[in-house]
């Protein structure tokens, strides 16, 4: 029994291929850098050498890659914090929905895994690994590819993947056939070297550069100069300033339109019924973008219309260096509620409360004063307590202190369909009698200078991938032997079997006398 040098298994290697890994014992030359040494194999003294050596190893790189893969997958076990229902507290949500496991998931920070320091570190290590491994191999590869003598030692040729002897009388014809298969031919005395697709060897380096660009883009996003992300809700007809633009950019919602699919459309009827709700077809906002001129803080700015346009889902628009996306909407928010108060003698008075800017005090015609104590734009009862789910007036509720002229005060909670007296007395009454609503359009306003970097990285990555994976570097050496016949040796950096087929076909074609 003998040990196979490749798979290290105990094998009976008498001549033939190893039954476990299929290789032959007769050692083939490692042609990756044609035997030249890399930096990482040369030095191992200083700390830098050691770090360099660590990151240049593909094996270590793959450990980092697989760790990243595992971490990435772990983040999908439970929803990330960004996707939990609005208004739920993470600490409470994970424990309530997923029990002990959820509590730990949240406690360990796995609910924000992708922005955690250790995930970022993993990506950084991956980048370092790609960079260093590539540099480490770049120079030996360049040297190997540049210095390619046509004449090679017999031993070198004999330890190639493909080796054959042949008598070749009409060399010109063979060369013509090789050229027809896009080989480039160099000659030195009686020896030849036919080579093609050398550029394929650079594929991995090109694609790694693309990857590094993508990682760079991700890093630059941490800086506001490169990446700014704002979100605004605008009511129909309203003008809103875009935050963090130094009060210089304003957007007006001229009109917001929602279209839903026709529930009677025979085509979609069944699917809409199954969905059980209206399915939106399109939502679009007509907007005007304004720029503030000579704006002094505190003043109402002079607005100069810049552009008028229409923004819809999948059709973002560009203005003032920003891209504007239609990204949400809210139908039938309450703009105001009309409340009716009733005095103890039955005289009534109505007043309107604006949901955006409710007044602190309302003096009413029937002699009552209503003082606003509390306002919940989007109220919900939670464990007997009133809370507001969002700051948008989707379900407004107010707490008023109502007072007549006789110092009797009543505290009342008023919502659209509900009134509760908190003081327990019922001398005065109040209820909602009317309301106005509006639609709100949610626009996301972004400036992202990293996008071109990502795109460039992606393009370079794809070019490198195809370069390295769809082409192969192939070489055929012809060395004249003492008896006048030729030793033919061939090498390809991958897909040996189809290379062998190509050479066989070339040689057979030559023997048959035609051009292949």
């Amino acid at each position: 029994m003998q040990q196979c040098p490749f798979c290290k298994g105990e094998n009976n290697l008498v001549g033939g291929p190893c039954p476990r890994c299929g290789r032959r014992l007769t050692e083939k030359l490692d042609m990756r850098y044609e035997g030249t040494i890399r930096r990482s194999q040369q030095y191992n003294r200083t700390l830098i050498d050691k770090v360099w050596r660590f990151f240049s190893s593909v094996r270590n790189g793959m450990y980092i890659l697989l760790l990243t893969l595992l971490a990435t997958a772990v983040g999908t076990i439970l929803p990330q914090r960004a996707y939990i229902p609005i208004g739920r507290l993470p600490g409470e949500f994970y424990a309530a929905e997923y029990g002990v496991f959820g509590r730990w998931y949240h406690y360990l920070g796995l609910d924000q895994l992708y922005s955690s320091w250790w995930y970022m570190t993993l990506l950084g290590l991956l980048g370092a690994s790609i960079l260093i491994a590539s540099i480490d191999r770049f120079f030996p590869l360049r040297r190997a590819l540049r210095m390619q003598p046509v004449k090679r030692r017999e031993h070198f040729l004999r330890s190639q993947l493909y080796v054959r002897h042949s008598v070749i009388d009409d060399r010109e014809r063979l060369m013509k056939n090789l050229r027809a298969r896009r080989y480039r031919i160099r000659q030195d005395g009686d020896d030849y070297l036919a080579e093609k697709n050398r550029f394929a060897r650079w594929g991995p380096y090109v694609n790694h550069v693309g990857l590094l660009l993508v990682l760079l883009g991700a890093f630059l996003r941490l800086f506001p100069f490169f990446y700014q992300d704002e979100f605004i809700w605008i009511r129909d007809g309203e003008t809103v300033v875009v935050p963090d633009t130094n009060q210089s950019l304003f957007i007006k919602n001229e009109q917001f339109i929602v279209d839903t699919y026709d529930t009677d459309d025979p085509k979609f009827k069944a699917a809409i019924e199954q969905e059980g709700r209206m399915i939106p077809k399109n939502f679009t906002t007509d907007i005007t973008v304004f720029e503030a001129e000579d704006h002094i803080a505190g003043d109402t700015p002079d607005l100069k219309p810049l552009k008028q346009m229409q923004v819809a889902v999948n059709h973002p628009v560009h203005a003032a260096g920003f891209t504007i996306y239609q990204s949400g909407y809210q139908l039938h928010e309450f703009s105001s509620l009309t409340l009716r108060t009733e005095n103890q003698d039955g005289s009534t008075a109505d007043f309107r409360v604006d949901t955006e800017n409710p007044q602190a005090m309302y003096e009413l015609d029937n002699g009552l004063h209503a003082e606003l104590i509390d306002y919940y734009p989007d109220y919900r009862l939670e464990e007997g307590k009133v809370i507001t789910e969002t700051k948008y007036p989707r379900n407004p509720a107010f707490v008023f202190d109502i007072e007549g002229n006789d110092d009797h005060k009543e505290r009342l909670f008023v919502a659209i369909d509900d009134v509760v007296s908190e003081t327990g007395t019922n001398r005065y009454s109040i209820r909602a009698v009317d309301y106005d609503t509006h639609h709100v359009s949610g626009l996301s306003v972004k400036r992202d200078l990293t996008l071109p970097i990502f795109l460039l990285g992606g393009v370079i990555f794809m070019i490198g991938l195809m370069q390295g994976l769809y082409w192969q570097h192939r070489r055929i050496w012809l060395r004249r032997q003492a008896d006048g016949s030729y030793l033919i040796a061939g090498h390809t950096n991958k897909h040996a079997s189809s290379f062998e087929r190509e050479v066989e076909r070339l040689l057979d074609g030559y023997k048959k006398g035609g051009s292949s």
Binding site: F6, C7, K8, C21, G22, V58, R59, G61, M62, L65, L66, T68, L69, T72, A73, G75, T76, P79, A82, Y83, Y98, G99, F101, Y114, Y261, D265, K267, F268, A270, A271, I272, Q274, E275, I279, P280, K281, N282, F283, A312, V313, N314, H315, P316, T323, Y325, S327, S444, K446, L451, F454, G458, F461, M462, L465, M466, L469, Y470, K494, H495, S497
Partner: protein
């Protein structure tokens, strides 16, 4: 117009039946010595089935007004179609009937599962109304189909290499894998049968009631009444959306898979892996290894382009961010990282052959996980339907 929809449905059925016939013919020709006409016939039937499916796809597109890749039914049938396309192209280079059998079986199971999801033509929500929908989905599916080939040949390679007398552990893993595949078949059969007889069971719970399409052995822990005599409450921690129902389906499918497995074993009277081995042994293992690597080398760029780059361009337009860590996106990234690792690991000495084959099996499991489990188990933006 209504007719288009009906014709398109029949074309899919025709395609499905052709693939079934194709499997039988290819298996037959794999079992016999080379018989050109039989192979050609098998190829022809499969190709005809593919054309029928193309017809289904085209008519459905015309009828609905958008590329039919927008829900789970449509996407899975499309993926099956891409698998067959890749098989047909590959068969022109490598005429190994067994590879065709493996690919066909998997496609048939995928299309079979697809048919169990809602099949109505659904209108597109605004974010899906984009040319990128079909550019992204079709390239991603094509990439995944090409990558899957490495699993087909990898699995055959493992069958080929496993010493059924000595390597008991590996042999058992193979049988386990076959049981899983048979469970998918079991699911399709069960769902098809119960649907044919119009079976439904209404399980009433404290808060909501659920309609089961299969007999409800496993019911939610708050069940009040069930029309079925046996009721096993699922443990309390299983509480995702319809968790009990999904669990019920899973267990029944596994049971059906085991029954199918037993039936086959009674018939073959040895491990299925051992019964298949003589067929697989005829294949040159180096060619299998080679095809496996090649399919990753060809599929990886296509997958990158479709599932990551096109997806990101579209997400930027539709959702104003090209990446949002949505589970479906994340699993595309996991798939991508895995196949990147495959390419590097294969460069190391001693990682070709059997180890690569195992990696290819894992890769396919990840693809399937992303296709099905992410939609069914994890909720996200993509959760089709």
């Amino acid at each position: 117009m209504e007719n288009l929809s009906i014709i398109s449905g029949h074309l899919l059925e025709a395609a499905f039946i052709s693939y079934l016939v194709g499997v039988i013919l290819f298996t037959w020709s794999a079992a016999k010595k080379r018989q050109r006409y039989l192979e050609r016939f098998a190829f022809g039937i499969t190709a005809a089935g593919w054309l029928a499916q193309l017809g289904f796809f085209t008519l459905r597109w015309i009828y609905s007004g958008h590329a039919p890749v927008s829900n789970l039914f449509e996407f899975m049938t499309f993926f099956g179609m891409m698998l067959i396309l890749v098989l047909l192209i590959m068969y022109r280079f490598y005429r190994f009937p067994l590879i065709a059998v493996t690919a066909l079986v998997i496609s048939i199971l995928i299309i079979g599962c697809a048919a169990m999801f809602p099949r109505e033509v659904a209108p597109l929500v605004p974010s899906l109304q984009s040319h990128w929908l079909y550019i992204h989905v079709t390239t991603a599916a094509l990439g995944e189909a090409v990558l899957s080939v490495s699993f087909f040949v990898g699995f055959l390679y493992i069958l080929h290499e496993t010493n059924q007398e000595k390597q008991h552990k590996t042999a058992r893993v193979i049988e386990g894998f076959l049981v899983l595949i048979l469970s998918v078949a079991g699911y399709v059969l069960l769902a098809f049968l119960f649907r044919m007889f119009g079976y439904t069971a209404n399980v009433t719970g404290a808060e909501a009631s659920i309609i089961y399409q299969l007999p409800p052995f496993f019911v939610p822990s708050d069940t009040v009444s069930s029309p079925f005599p046996i009721q096993i409450m699922v443990p309390d921690w299983l509480r995702g959306e319809n968790a009990a129902q999904k669990f019920n389906t899973m267990i029944l499918s596994l049971l059906a898979g085991c029954v199918l497995y037993m039936l086959i074993r009674i018939f073959t009277r040895k491990r299925i892996g051992a019964a298949l081995q003589p067929l697989v042994r005829k294949l040159p293992k180096n060619a299998l290894d080679d095809i496996g690597y090649r399919s990753v080398a060809v599929g990886f760029p296509i997958f990158t382009l479709g599932a990551l780059i096109f997806a990101m361009i579209w997400a930027q337009q539709a959702w104003d961010r090209f990446w949002g860590w949505d589970p479906k996106e994340v699993w595309a990234l996991v798939t991508w990282l895995f196949y990147a690792a495959y390419l590097h690991i294969r460069m190391q000495k001693g990682w070709q052959g059997i180890r690569s084959a195992w990696l290819a099996v894992i890769g396919f499991c990840i693809i399937m996980f992303n296709l099905l489990a992410v939609n069914l188990l994890i909720v996200g933006l993509h959760a089709y339907a």
